[in-house]
């Protein structure tokens, strides 16, 4: 089944399409997945059919991309998605205790969402914040040179 391409979304799709040379319409798969996810918070299988129809590629190609790339998710997440880097430079500067602190403070494990839907906690790989480790993202925003106290402050200020 295909989701409905709303006029607002169509306008955004058209603007993205205008950026690319005409012969490169296949390149629209990732930008349109990003665009859809930004608009509604997640992308469903139905959305991939809608995107595929817009571009004129097999739905399977969009669905495959949606499932293969880690940044796309098929279901709503918490209002704030907290993504803590667990890779080497952050691990050397204390990300493990940061993750433990977040789990305890939010009362959830990595991969879970708080019952009030406010926070989703995730671990991610290197965010290129190695010089300012340890680091995390909340939504798109980077927070760096963290410790437990700073994390508490950041969480407290979020709606």
């Amino acid at each position: 089944m295909s989701a409905v391409l709303t006029p607002v979304l169509r306008e955004r799709f058209d603007a993205i399409r205008a950026l690319y040379p005409e012969e490169m319409s296949n390149s629209l798969v990732l930008p349109l997945l990003h665009c859809t996810q930004e608009a509604q918070g997640f992308v469903t299988e139905d959305d991939t059919v809608m995107i595929a129809a817009y571009i004129g590629v097999p739905a399977m190609q969009v669905l495959e991309a949606m499932r293969w790339y880690t940044m796309f998710h098929g279901a709503p997440q918490g209002r704030h998605v907290v993504k803590v880097c667990r890779n080497i430079a952050c691990a050397l500067r204390g990300s493990e205790s940061l993750i433990a602190h977040l789990q305890q403070r939010l009362g959830i494990n990595v991969g879970q969402t708080t019952p009030d839907g406010r926070f989703t906690l995730q671990t991610v790989e290197c965010l290129a914040s190695c010089g300012t480790a340890p680091a995390m993202q909340v939504g798109d925003t980077y927070f760096e040179q963290l410790d437990a106290a700073r994390v508490d402050e950041i969480l407290k200020d979020l709606p």
Partner: protein, 427 residues
């Protein structure tokens, strides 16, 4: 403006990323010079004469890469690889945040040399400020007639498109990047054909790293030979070295190639965190073989010296590890990463990275056996050289080098079920 700094030649302030600030420090002088006084081939020749090598990790000669592109092809693409994801690496981010116009100018110069009409920046999807800075710079450049139709009133037209990735380390591999840019999952391609022959949509395509392209304006302004005169002869120029881990003042340090590691670490960056002794360094991003403090003692930071020491200069990302760090746990951080990021196309890498990670997990759980240590040395042999892209090698080299250099720590963990240290990764 002649300076021995290609990047860090200005103090970073709140507006160093803007067009005005870039122009005030001589920005777009290289583009003006090339479009008014140089033929495309001359631009290519200057870059070849500079001896510039790729800064993404592989270190391939840029002039050579460009020379592979057919001058007769009606369509040639340029892709800037801004999918910075090699753990420990954060130098491209420095350029994107503080001097994004320098990248745009470098891309325009490369496009002029290679007769590119459409150029792309493939930027990693997680980047926030770097993306916004680059988008802002591109808007400014378009409005100023520096990108688009008839640039600076000449016949040269070139558009630049910013394309976001979506969270896949493997897409930093150039052929995987091209597949991703074509809207597919990022499986690396078999080579040959190399991208310069058949790349994006089967057209000749040059893929260069952010730092690589951003060095081109300096080369055009000052001349290839001036660039070749910096650093060591065989891989000249400067590098944006990124120091991270157990170092007092982590950050990006631009230094000429051949700079002594100890000078960089102890004099420029304040030494090891907490005054601890140095245990080891990973010299060029997490994939490059680890070196002990003794091996690092007289090391200079150039490709040849690193190769002699049994490692690689890679992306210039130096990860510092202090005495007292548990190497078994640290290695598992890396095996977890590579098993997570293996794209799954080649069996040896898909299965091998997962096996290595599970074995290390078992050792960390106190259930390791002597045979595990043998397996950890055998599995990489079954991966390396047997995969389509370099991720298999990248996943294998840390395992082999950690065990070779710190074998007794692994044996101790297996025999006693616990770390020879207290198991900590932090100082």
């Amino acid at each position: 403006m002649k300076s021995d700094r290609v990047f860090q030649s200005f103090p970073v302030t709140a507006d160093t990323h803007t067009l005005d600030a870039y122009r005030a420090r001589g920005g777009y002088g290289g583009l003006t010079k090339a479009l008014t006084a140089m033929q495309p081939l001359e631009v290519e020749q200057q870059v070849a004469a500079s001896g510039l090598q790729g800064r993404g990790g592989a270190g391939f000669g840029v002039g050579q890469k460009w020379s592979f592109v057919s001058k007769k092809s009606p369509v040639v693409y340029l892709c800037c690889n801004a999918d910075e994801g090699e753990p420990g690496t954060f130098k491209d981010r420095w350029i994107l945040e503080h001097s994004p116009h320098q990248l745009l100018e470098g891309m325009l110069l490369a496009s002029y040399a290679l007769r590119v009409r459409h150029a792309f920046v493939y930027i990693r999807g997680e980047f926030d400020l770097p993306l916004r800075r680059l988008q802002g710079a591109l808007q400014e450049a378009r409005a100023a007639g520096l990108v688009g139709e008839r640039i600076l009133g000449t016949d040269f037209s070139c558009d630049i498109v910013i394309h976001r990735g979506a969270g896949a380390y493997v897409c930093g591999e150039e052929s995987s990047l091209l597949n991703s840019l074509e809207g597919k999952k990022g499986y690396p391609r078999n080579k040959p054909p190399f991208p310069a022959i058949k790349g994006l949509y089967q057209r000749p395509t040059v893929v260069n790293n952010v730092e690589t392209l951003s060095a081109v304006p300096w080369i055009i302004v000052n001349g290839g030979p001036a660039y070749a005169a910096m650093g060591v002869k065989k891989n000249p120029g400067t590098r944006l070295f990124g120091l991270s881990g157990h170092v007092d003042r982590p950050g990006i340090y631009e230094r000429p190639t051949g700079y002594p590691l100890k000078k960089l670490l102890f004099e420029d960056a304040g030494g090891v965190l907490g005054g601890k002794a140095l245990k080891a360094v990973i010299p060029g991003g997490s994939s490059t073989p680890i070196l002990t403090a003794a091996e690092a003692e007289h090391l200079t930071l150039d490709a040849e010296a690193l190769s002699k020491a049994g490692s690689m200069l890679g992306s210039g990302a130096i990860i510092v590890i202090a005495e007292g760090t548990c190497m078994v746990r640290l290695l598992q951080v890396l095996t977890r990463f590579y098993s997570h990021e293996s794209c799954g196309q080649c069996t040896p890498c898909r299965e091998g990275t997962d096996w290595m990670n599970r074995i290390l997990q078992r050792i960390l759980a106190g259930q390791g056996t002597a045979a595990d240590l043998v397996s950890l040395q055998e599995i990489p042999q079954a991966i390396m050289g047997k995969t389509i892209c370099a991720l298999g090698d990248a996943a294998s080299m840390p395992v082999l080098s950690f065990i070779k250099k710190f074998g007794p720590e692994f044996q101790h963990y297996i025999e006693h079920g616990r770390s020879v240290h207290d198991g900590r990764l932090t100082v």
